[in-house]
């Protein structure tokens, strides 16, 4: 009825290759943007911002980055936590070394530094594939965390071994440090998330993205066509690490404020980002967001329901949270192994014909 492509003829290739070819989708996208940028900030409370929205956006960026590597290029990586740590520490070093630098530059530079580190650790991917590559990237995870913990220069020789974000302003609004308002932090992260999602979409639909997917689907045929496996894989590692680095950077500077590398960026971070993209959908930008939403929102939601609405004791609820989230992951993966994004795709296919399926 409302979700129709009939009668909507595309007369140029430009129109034919747009991100949302169906009018309803386009309007829904504008609507979501409006809600995210205008409506949400008006009603944002401290709790919602710090427990839900900011972590959601930060994890969504990390998931986007990992999805480029795992979902689009087919290179399994368990180094996400380590790369996020690189982003976070790069931000810390830049913020303390150049106090006058504006935050956007700091974060983009941190992303670039992480991209270089990521490309370096992507070198084994030229020789190793699949699970073995995952083990090789695990080395990156442990090595980077060890390095950042071991060399005091990275945390400016602070006694606690922690890094903490100094206060920074943009356009006169405080966005980092203890006095930052949640709305500012939220909008800052949202800007990055939307911008990076747009870049991810552009890269994955163009020449570079096709070379990534070609390497993922059939590397021999990709080579025959002219794709150099070296550049394709390393560019995927670099772009992915750029995203992950920015995510780590925001995670530290906007969300946590202070971090200690072994706690904040351990191996469990790598796994949880990997789960996000598996649940959300490999090779899907929407999937990265929905996977992050699932992993961030579900525990919060359950806690509110179990403790808030049903009055369970907190410790019992905390354990049940794990059980229920684990169970839900299982159920979703059994119903749709290709993730929530695939579910949405199937729903859309059905919706195109609904309510007259013939």
């Amino acid at each position: 009825m409302f979700y129709r492509e009939s009668g909507d003829f595309k007369k140029t290739y430009q129109k034919d290759s747009q991100t949302f070819p169906i009018k309803f989708d386009r309007w829904r996208y504008y609507f979501v943007m409006l809600v995210a940028f205008v409506v949400v900030p008006m009603f944002l409370t401290d709790y919602i911002a710090n427990a839900v929205m900011i972590p959601f956006l930060v994890w969504a960026i990390a998931a986007l980055g990992l999805n480029i590597l795992v979902g689009y290029t087919g290179q399994l990586s368990l180094g996400t936590g380590g790369f996020m740590a690189v982003g976070a520490y790069a931000t810390y070093k830049l913020m303390t070394a150049f106090p006058g630098m504006d935050m956007v530059s700091v974060i983009l530079l941190s992303g670039l530094i992480t991209a270089v580190v990521g490309a370096l650790f992507g070198l084994p991917s030229l020789r190793i594939k699949g699970f073995y590559l995952a083990v090789a990237t695990l080395a990156a995870q442990f090595f980077l965390v060890w390095l950042l913990n071991k060399v005091p220069w990275f945390y400016n020789y602070s006694a606690s071994g922690q890094i903490s974000a100094p206060q920074r302003e943009m356009f006169g609004v405080i966005i980092t440090g203890p006095h930052a308002t949640p709305v500012a932090g939220y909008l800052f992260c949202l800007g990055f998330a939307v911008g990076l999602a747009w870049i991810a979409r552009n890269l994955t639909r163009g020449r570079l993205g096709r070379s990534w997917m070609a390497i993922r689907d059939m590397d021999i045929a990709a080579e025959i066509i002219g794709v150099n496996p070296l550049t394709a894989k390393l560019s995927a590692f670099a772009v992915s690490s750029f995203f992950v680095g920015i995510s780590g950077s925001l995670f530290f500077s906007v969300y946590l404020g202070a971090a200690e590398v072994t706690e904040a960026f351990g191996i469990s971070v790598s796994f949880s980002v990997l789960f996000m993209i598996i649940i959300g959908g490999l090779g899907s930008i929407f999937g990265s967001f929905i996977g992050a939403a699932f992993m961030v929102l579900m525990p919060v939601l359950l806690k509110n329901v179990l403790v808030g609405a049903m009055g369970w004791p907190t410790d019992l609820a905390a354990h049940f949270e794990y059980i229920i989230v684990g169970g839900l992951i299982l159920i979703f993966l059994i119903i749709e192994p290709h993730g929530l994004a695939q579910m949405a795709r199937v729903l859309k296919e059905k919706l195109r014909l609904w309510p007259f399926p013939h």
Binding site: L208, R210, I220, E223, I224, G226, P229
Partner: protein, 265 residues
Amino acid sequence: MSEPLQKMEAASKLLELKHIDLSFGGVKAISNISFDVLEGEVRAIIGPNGAGKSSLLNVINGFYHPQQGEIWFDGKQRHSMKPYQIAYQGISRTFQNIALFKGMSVLDNIMTGRFTHMHKNMLWQALWKGPAEQEEIENREFVEHIIDFLEIQAIRKTPVGRLPYGLQKRVELGRALAAQPKMLLLDEPMAGMNVEEKEDMCRFILDVNDTFGTTIVLIEHDMGVVMDIADRVVVLDYGRKIGDGTPDVVRNDQTVIDAYLGVSH
């Protein structure tokens, strides 16, 4: 048979292999094979199973590096090159068992074939608007010509994994054609097809040869097809060349007949 002969006299050598030797450990896959491919011809390589046909294609393609021998392509001698560099020289191919990108649509698969013709760097692609989009649209136009040519308009947005075998073969041909190759290598393009699909494929191969002037090297087991569409045929057996010439010559060659039918000792 006069027409292909005329074509041959006018044309120059596009590819020439001289005394190629290829072995894996102790196994000799190819020994001392020399032959040439003329510009614009359809050249078939035939031979019983394990004769070294696919290995030869892989040598031309750069997957295998022969221990001995020279390869001349387009007037230049080739020194050890990676397969992706050879793609830039103008050789593309299809595979015996389909090697399409299963997760991508037909359109994306064929667009990937345009890889060597697209040059905008990563930053332009990240922006999309502007030069990258322009380049994308130009190449899309070319790809649409190929889609029209192969008559697969209706399935251009279907993921290739969902297509039947015959159509997948056709898409793979499309992907190879999208690169606008000087030379097209086809590894058993008709394997596993029914008569009708074979006829379609034959027509496409001949059309490609006629309209684009692409030189074609193909491996095929269906002798009827080979004798019909090839200008010249190379026959291999146990890694050696046992016959070379026009289909008529090869058909009546005693060594070739012996290799195919066996000889009583």
